[in-house]
């Protein structure tokens, strides 16, 4: 771009900002103002695993399958499927009326290209592709999976609600390498992305896609459909300050705040015209990741000693406050409501917390006062609270804690370092596992034992990997449950991470807004009265 273009760009942008007509003045009740917990910085749901991009993805894109309120998988873009050849061939037929936002119909080849791109990066997608011999478009309407071995979870993978979203986009965009972002946002979902009005870091705008044809039948909740857009326009206003977001809701300047600060919930509840409701019933599980490469946490006995003194109640109160309905202690590897959750081995977390015994165990394991580098994010409230309680716990155990306060961006890089502690390495850090991710082993990264090929922390455990494989191949629910008990026992033995309890983040919204679906922030069927 040359200088003249620069000036032109500035002039055009300013003019657009100055004179763009505001729809909101005309029909206030047709516009829904929402405060997300982060900005949709990346618009390609395959390029990133950020939750906010997943939520954005479910506005704009559609998926082949969806989940209902009972976590049952349901057809969404597909009319139905036929399974043949003893479970080795799946024929998925697209339903009628599917159309992209650029006016083109959704064809089977778009689906094939989109699934290929997604499966190249997604964990569950890779599992599916490993079992797939050939994926092809038999006609404009029919997608065929020819499998090497039966894969009963195929619809679950293609409708997964966790990141990365198996979104369907036009073939021309889906041909983009998965390491590059697709910046042209063309989906076939009920809302259209308004690129012109986007202000990076401040505002994202969606408009109702008039040509969207919802499924027939009554609402089943979540992503199961039918996905009906009842408002003309949805604006996502990013507010960096949590107190400001609550203030804006109180003053009626916005309609819906995705996750207000837990401490402000009593105040919001007491206000007329504001409702507080737990939408995302699966919550978030706190996780303390341990680095298995360096002392002291390369020693399993020390890891188990730390596990033995973790008091989930303390962590959860620090994160979510004293109201016990906002959190749960006694949480194992899987989300408590999930069929995969069990009591196997839970006594290590639920028994009395004995610091003296813990100290003795650490001394016996040969701890020599090596430093424990704890990475704590300064700009991420929930994780900072966990890090502070964690540092306190480790100190009381007699470990030599080096508390390093960093911004989240730095931690995201530092945690990938396998170097020793004096060269930028680390010993432990804190993350959150979304309750949906911990629902079953499919996307449960924390419980993997892949070593160098796995996530930061690099725990090695053949048992954990074998148990996950057993789950993928289990023929029925009982088999899946048994595999998950193995995983939980394995986690308590190897300690790749320590679960810190589960906390809920209710949403707050004006009483004029109703019919908000359960789950992460979704706008299907949401209505707003004047």
């Amino acid at each position: 771009m040359h200088r003249r273009n620069f000036l032109k760009g500035v002039a055009a942008g300013s003019a657009a900002a100055l004179f763009s007509p505001r729809l909101s003045l005309a029909a206030e009740s047709r516009v829904l103002k929402f405060v997300p917990s982060a900005d949709v910085t990346v618009v390609d749901p395959v390029w990133t695993t950020a939750y906010v991009t997943r939520n954005h993805g479910y506005m704009v894109f559609d998926t082949l399958y969806g989940y209902d309120d009972n976590f049952q998988i349901r057809p969404q873009m597909v009319a139905g499927h036929e399974i043949g050849k003893d479970g080795l061939e799946w024929r998925l037929t697209l339903r009628d009326g599917l159309k992209f936002h650029d006016g083109e119909p959704v064809l089977a080849r778009d689906v094939v290209a989109s699934i290929r791109r997604w499966a190249d990066r997604d964990v569950f997608g890779k599992d599916l592709m490993a079992a797939t011999d050939e994926l092809s478009a038999a006609s404009d309407k029919v997608v065929v999976f020819r499998l090497k071995r039966p894969f009963a979870l195929l619809p679950a993978a293609l409708g997964k609600m966790t990141s990365r979203m198996p979104c369907i986009m036009p073939e021309r965009l889906a041909m983009t390498p998965p390491s590059e972002q697709v910046t042209e946002v063309i989906g076939s979902g009920p809302f259209r992305f308004v690129a012109d009005e986007r202000v990076q870091g401040a505002l994202t705008v969606y408009e109702k896609f008039e040509d969207y044809v919802p499924r027939e039948g009554s609402a089943v909740g979540r992503t199961g459909g039918p996905k009906v857009a009842n408002v003309d326009r949805v604006e996502w206003h990013v507010m960096p300050d949590a107190a400001t977001a609550s203030g804006a809701l109180q003053a009626g300047e916005v309609d819906w705040v995705e996750s207000p600060l837990p401490d402000l919930l009593p105040l919001l509840r007491s206000q007329d015209g504001i409702e507080v409701k737990l939408l995302d019933t699966s919550g978030t599980i706190g996780s303390m990741r341990l680095n298995h490469l360096h002392p002291p946490f390369d020693n399993p006995a020390i890891r188990r000693a730390v596990l033995s003194v973790i008091d989930q109640k303390n962590f959860m109160q620090a994160v979510a406050g004293e109201d016990p309905s906002m959190w749960r202690a006694g949480v194992g590897v899987f989300t408590p409501e999930s069929p995969m959750a069990s009591d196997a081995g839970m006594e290590v977390l639920n028994g009395p917390r004995d610091f003296e015994a813990g100290k003795a165990a650490i001394a016996e394991a040969g701890y020599n006062g090596e430093p424990v580098v704890l990475l704590a994010p300064s700009d991420y409230a929930a994780l900072r609270a966990e890090a502070e309680v964690g540092a306190d716990t480790l100190n009381r155990l007699g470990l030599n804690v080096d508390y390093q306060s960093l911004d989240w961006g730095t931690i995201q890089q530092r945690r990938r370092s396998r170097e020793p502690l004096d060269k930028g390495g680390w010993s432990c850090l804190y993350t959150g596992i979304n309750g949906l991710e911990a629902w079953d082993p499919s996307s449960h990264q924390n419980s993997r034992g892949l070593g160098d090929a796995g996530q930061y922390g690099w725990p090695v455990s053949d048992e954990l990997e074998a148990a996950r494989k057993a789950w993928l191949e289990a023929p029925d629910l009982a088999g899946q449950k048994a595999a998950c008990e193995r995983i939980q026992l394995g986690v308590f033995d190897v300690v790749p991470y320590i679960p810190l309890g589960l906390h809920y983040a209710p949403a707050a919204f004006r009483s004029t807004v109703s019919n908000i679906p359960y789950g992460f922030a979704q706008f299907y069927g949401v209505t707003k009265s004047a």
């Binding site: 401490d263 402000l264 620090a318 306060s405 960093l406 911004d407």
Partner: protein, 297 residues
Amino acid sequence: MPATTLAATERPDLFVVRRRRSGVLGFLIGNPRITIGGGMLALVVLMAICAPLLATHDPLSLAPWLRARFPSAEHWFGTDMLGRDIYSRVIYGARVSLTVGISVAVLTSVVGLFIGLIAGYLRWADGILMRVMDGLMAIPSILLAVALMALTRGSMVNVIIAVTIADIPRMCRLVRGVVLSAREQPYVEAAVATGTRTHVIIRRHILPNTLAPMIVQATYICASAMIVEAILSFIGAGTPPTTPSWGNIMAEGRALWQIKPFIVFFPAVFLSVTVLAVNLLGDGLRDLLDPRAATRT
């Protein structure tokens, strides 16, 4: 925040007849700003030194089951989001604010004096040095601090370095200005003409002239550094929570401002009073040391 060359507090002598006083008491009565400012500052310093005696709790001990409690007989200023005693944290926090304020003031003075002297004395170095100073001055200190935190980690030392880098150009410009004007003075020209050595001229003639405005400037820099420390905590680039500071107590409690105002209120009062004291002291010193300062902007 720039510690600008601020107003003197001198009065038009037409209407005020000053009685000469002598002795320490006389000095104190004659310079109320120094007395009040210095007195308040002395109290804060005393509080910082005696923090272990004054505190009622360990400022670091967590009690998540006692979080965000209103002030009570047990917790005089209430407790914060992790159940730590705010009174004890505020008392210990004085150490951070004072350390940051004083370190920045001393460091900028030393470095600013050194660079300013060179720039003022060596013509060929002047251009380069002042361009670098202009460049540094153009980078907002908040951005610098966030970048430094990313470079290493959040710590008091980083806050001090970031604020110092941003304030050095101001001090440097001040010193350079004084040196340039001093060089024009007849007695300095005479000294140069008689072949007096440069370092002697600097020591005898230049330094005494720069000292007064520098002390005054340093007090304002000290005050502004304390405020910047608080603002850095607000954007997450300040001292880590394991080092209690007024800034990070306020930053942590700010979201609860509507329902638990005391978390922000107590550290804010202490910070404001301390900054006020340093500013008053600066005004008073200016009165005393540099009565002509008002004409120099």
